[in-house]
């Protein structure tokens, strides 16, 4: 798992996650973005274009983020992930685009 933090043109934060996200890498990711989230950004976009795999630890992480920022958007989620998030009833909360 690798990740990249950037800002978009509206001053929101974009976290791009690539590779495989499981319980171990979710902990690494959480530590890695803790400082960014501590700033309570108004808008957080999570870009999953490079994400090959995520288990429920990843979803748990995004739910956590959703409670820490103004609004959260998940973009470029795979069809599997989209359906999993929808089944869990989390598509609104995670701002699934």
């Amino acid at each position: 798992m690798t990740f990249n933090v950037a800002t978009d043109e509206h001053g929101g934060v974009v976290i791009a996650i690539a590779g495989e996200l499981d319980i171990e890498s979710a902990i690494v990711l959480q530590d890695g973005v803790a400082a960014v989230l501590a700033g309570r950004p108004k808008r957080l976009t999570v870009d999953l274009a490079g994400l090959r795999f995520a288990d429920s630890s990843g979803i748990a992480l995004w739910v956590r983020w959703a409670g820490m920022v103004g609004e959260l958007h998940l973009r470029n989620a795979s069809p599997l992930l989209r359906r999993v998030i929808t089944t869990m009833g989390l598509s609104d909360r995670l701002g699934l685009m």
């Binding site: 090959r52 748990a60 795979s78 599997l80 999993v84 089944t87 009833g89």
Partner: protein
């Protein structure tokens, strides 16, 4: 040149011996930690069981029948022989209910001191209860409940503190001792397999046990990496020295050096093989633990057959968070539960155990599934501990011939009728447990076909990388509809056919089958 060769051989021998010694110590530490994780993992389940019993007693004002019904399955193993229910404020009155043998705890003396420490969110651990058949006791009360109840259990210890050595155990090549508390004083010894104390190479690991601790000391019976590595330093040394003296030439010295290097490489290969064995062993331990946290026997009703399977995925080095349960309720009703806690390892297993036992307690006090799920929402918080859980409840009512489905973000159950048609029982999904403490749930009730099969499962059975979940669900639906054999066969076939691939998740599947 002879001197140089001898020096090289001597150096190789010493290095090899050092490597051997370090490897043995490392293996001992690894094995001791694995054993400690077994100990650690057994504790949350015990605590969760007592906590749900105390909670049930608080909610039902000490309903003895409900307490017995909830706690009776806990006595199925040999590790607990007595579970009792007490009033926290009045231990002198003795236990209100006892399941198993009578507790050895003195109501007047020991109980009041022990119960005063209960109710802090972890087990209050009593001292050793005396000979001739010693026991250790521990108590749990729900924190913050005035005039509440205490659930108290006792685990037997061997009279001479010596356990029989089990050759089938994964730790058959190790001696061990377990002490209560942080000290290894002889008086604190709970159990060991040889006369205490252990000598030679030992490793010590301490694990929390309620408001006390357990100290595990282990020492190897022989070489942990097998006898060849133990002998290798001497083989290199003796063999090398003889050869060096016999043919003290530069060329031979070079050959010898290369051979020494090759033998060291072999040693590394042996260590790598040992690592692979440890991996397999760790996987075995994880699976043993997993099964210990799942129901040992499933309840049955007349005309209703049940079966369940748990399959660890390739990621199964640690315990997973999947679980299933089948709870017999009054009036010929059964509550089927399947759930999945995010993450892996001890934390996921601990959450899983507490959710599982909490559901049992809420169900025993008569809460309907939507209320159970709302109550569970207060036990887990993704914001605080980073975990969430999906849970599916299916209430099967034999008399009303109806199924009530309630889901907290979990996949729907599959219903097969006698004609071979299979469809998912869709239900409006509530949020997973842990997302919102005030989450609300709705149920959907459907009539059951006169004969049919219900399958509830976790995502490992249907999720595959690179495809949509709907494809996986459709694959399961078709495979289940095409199968016409017994229920246990059906589950095995589905697990074998659908659950494979190098990095698949764990899978739990439960089936219920009824006739007319």
């Amino acid at each position: 040149m002879l001197a140089i060769t001898l020096l090289i051989v001597a150096a190789l021998t010493v290095l090899s011996q050092l490597a051997y010694s370090r490897n043995e110590q490392r293996l001992l530490r690894v094995r001791t930690r694995a054993a400690a994780s077994l100990l650690t993992a057994a504790i949350p389940a015990r605590q969760a069981a007592l906590a749900s019993a105390a909670q049930l007693a608080d909610a039902t004002h000490g309903n003895v029948a409900k307490f017995r019904r909830l706690i009776a399955p806990e006595l199925s193993g040999a590790s607990v022989i007595s579970i009792s229910l007490w009033r926290q404020s009045d231990p002198a009155a003795g236990p209100l209910a006892v399941v198993g043998t009578a507790p050895k705890l003195e109501p007047a003396m020991g109980a009041s001191a022990l119960f005063a420490r209960a109710g802090v969110g972890k087990l209050a651990v009593g001292g050793l209860l005396a000979a001739p058949s010693p026991r250790i006791g521990y108590a749990y009360a729900i924190p913050g409940v005035a005039g509440g109840y205490v659930a108290y259990a006792e685990t037997p210890l061997p009279a001479d503190r010596r356990s029989k050595y089990q050759s089938s155990s994964a730790f058959a090549d190790l001696n061990y001792e377990i002490y209560l508390g942080a000290s290894t004083r002889p008086a604190n010894l709970l159990v060991g397999d040889v006369p205490a104390p252990l000598h030679g190479r030992t490793a010590t690991v301490r694990v929390p046990f309620g408001d006390s601790a357990l100290t595990l000391v282990m020492s190897p019976r022989g070489s942990l990496a097998g006898t060849l590595p133990q002998a290798l330093p001497w083989i290199i040394g003796i063999g090398g020295a003889l050869l060096a003296i016999g043919a003290a030439t530069v060329s031979f010295g070079l050959v010898q050096r290369r051979r020494g290097a090759e033998q060291l490489a072999d040693r590394l290969e042996v260590a790598a093989a040992e690592n692979r064995t440890l991996y397999a062993e760790q996987r075995g331990i994880a699976q043993t633990l997993q099964h210990a946290l799942l129901p040992a026997v499933l309840p049955t009703l007349p005309g209703l057959e049940s079966s369940a399977r748990y399959e660890a995925g390739e990621r199964g080095m640690e315990i997973g968070g999947d679980w299933y349960d089948l709870i017999a309720l009054e009036d010929e009703r059964l509550l089927l539960v399947v759930g999945d806690v995010s993450g892996r390892g001890l934390r996921a297993a601990t959450t899983m155990a507490s959710l599982r036992f909490a559901i049992q307690a809420y169900a025993a006090q008569g809460d309907p599934p939507e209320v159970i799920l709302t109550k569970l929402s207060k036990l887990v918080s993704v914001a605080e501990d980073g975990q969430l859980a999906t849970v599916l409840c299916v209430l099967v009512d034999r008399r009303a011939k109806a199924l009530t489905v309630t889901t907290a973000g979990h996949l729907p159950p599959l219903l097969l009728d006698a004609g071979g048609t299979a469809h998912y029982v869709e239900c409006p999904s509530g949020l997973p447990i842990g997302v919102d403490k005030e989450a609300r749930y709705v149920s959907r009730t459907v009539p059951t076909p006169s004969a049919g099969t219900l399958l509830a499962f976790t995502d490992g059975l249907v999720e595959r990388r690179g495809e949509s979940l709907d494809e996986g669900l459709e694959r399961l639906r078709l495979a289940a509809a095409a199968h016409h054999d017994g229920l246990a066969d059906l589950l095995s076939t589905l697990v074998v056919d659908l659950h494979h691939g190098p990095s698949e998740d764990d899978t739990a599947i439960v089936g219920l089958r009824w006739t007319n």
